[in-house]
Symmetry: C2
Subunit: 147 residues, 2 copies
DNA sequence: ATAGTCAGTTTATAAACTAAACTTACTTAA
DNA sequence: TTAAGTAAGTTTAGTTTATAAACTGACTAT
């Protein structure tokens, strides 16, 4: 099976990954969350090849995750900024960073990366259930398979 | 820059992605969360090539995310099951699925995939702050860049 | 004029992926 | 006791993708 056929899958995780699941797209989005918005800055920061960056940015724009916002004319140059759909990835990003800190590095107390502005504390994100507000543990989730 | 150099990065998201960020690893883990544990089952279910599956499973075992648990001898055959480190990805998986449902599909009411056993409701996961318990919005997170 | 910036495009080369057949080590049914 | 079947790979050949580095075009600043 080709990766490009994955958007047909009967599973929201598969469809999400058909957009985000390649080697650089997630990293580009991470930079967008950190305020890096321009081609040259992304290329220099990620060390990605320019060909692939062009390709991935075009995909993300087409998927409605990034939006091109011109910041000059003659020649036209764009900032690549997160749309609402892109900003909706915030939760995924936070949990991915938390996993990297705690599970991969084994040390949650790395140099501060996020602060929760509303309460002022260093952010330790966790996933909660909208119905009961409790933290969702893996063992308490009954997954129903369908593709 | 090569993808393989990414594990050196000074960012927990980058280090997480150096393990998970290729085209199939996340899909393999999704299947593990859904209870698919064997080579043939994963291969048939994902439609991935056997060469890549072998490679990715070996990587995940080496990274301590999956554990091989023998289920027969002569010849030895293994189940690939999630370790604690692997189970810690639960939050990432849930948020990724939620993003797929709401942002990509635009319809949160797809056929039920997860139920929260402790409260009995269909799971609508969100990311909360451990300090204040409030939902974490993208605008309320001050990200400090460092690589 | 000359150099510099930004966002690409082109090209040759290198790496990764796919599909399909093959291998090993068994088990079960005829 | 041969013949199929199962499970987990490995091998091979061919295709697809990615990389690095140079090049292009449209400007701006000195």
């Amino acid at each position: 099976m080709r990766w490009s056929e994955l958007d047909q899958a009967d599973c929201p995780i598969a469809r999400a990954l058909s957009i985000l699941g390649d080697r650089w797209t997630f990293m580009i989005l991470r930079d967008c969350f950190f305020g890096v918005h321009r081609f040259e800055a992304l290329q220099a920061n990620l060390g990605i090849s320019r060909t692939i960056l062009r390709d991935r940015l075009a995909h993300l724009v087409q998927a409605g995750i990034l939006v091109q916002r011109p910041y000059q004319d003659r020649p036209v140059r764009y900032d690549y900024v997160l749309s609402a759909k892109g900003k909706a990835l915030n939760g995924v990003m936070l949990m991915l960073g938390e996993w990297g800190r705690t599970a991969v590095d084994g040390q949650p107390e790395t140099p501060i990366r996020h602060r929760h502005q509303t309460c002022g504390h260093v952010l330790r994100p966790y996933v909660a259930c909208a119905a009961c507000g409790e933290e969702v543990m893996a063992k308490d989730v009954r997954a129903v398979r369908a593709g």
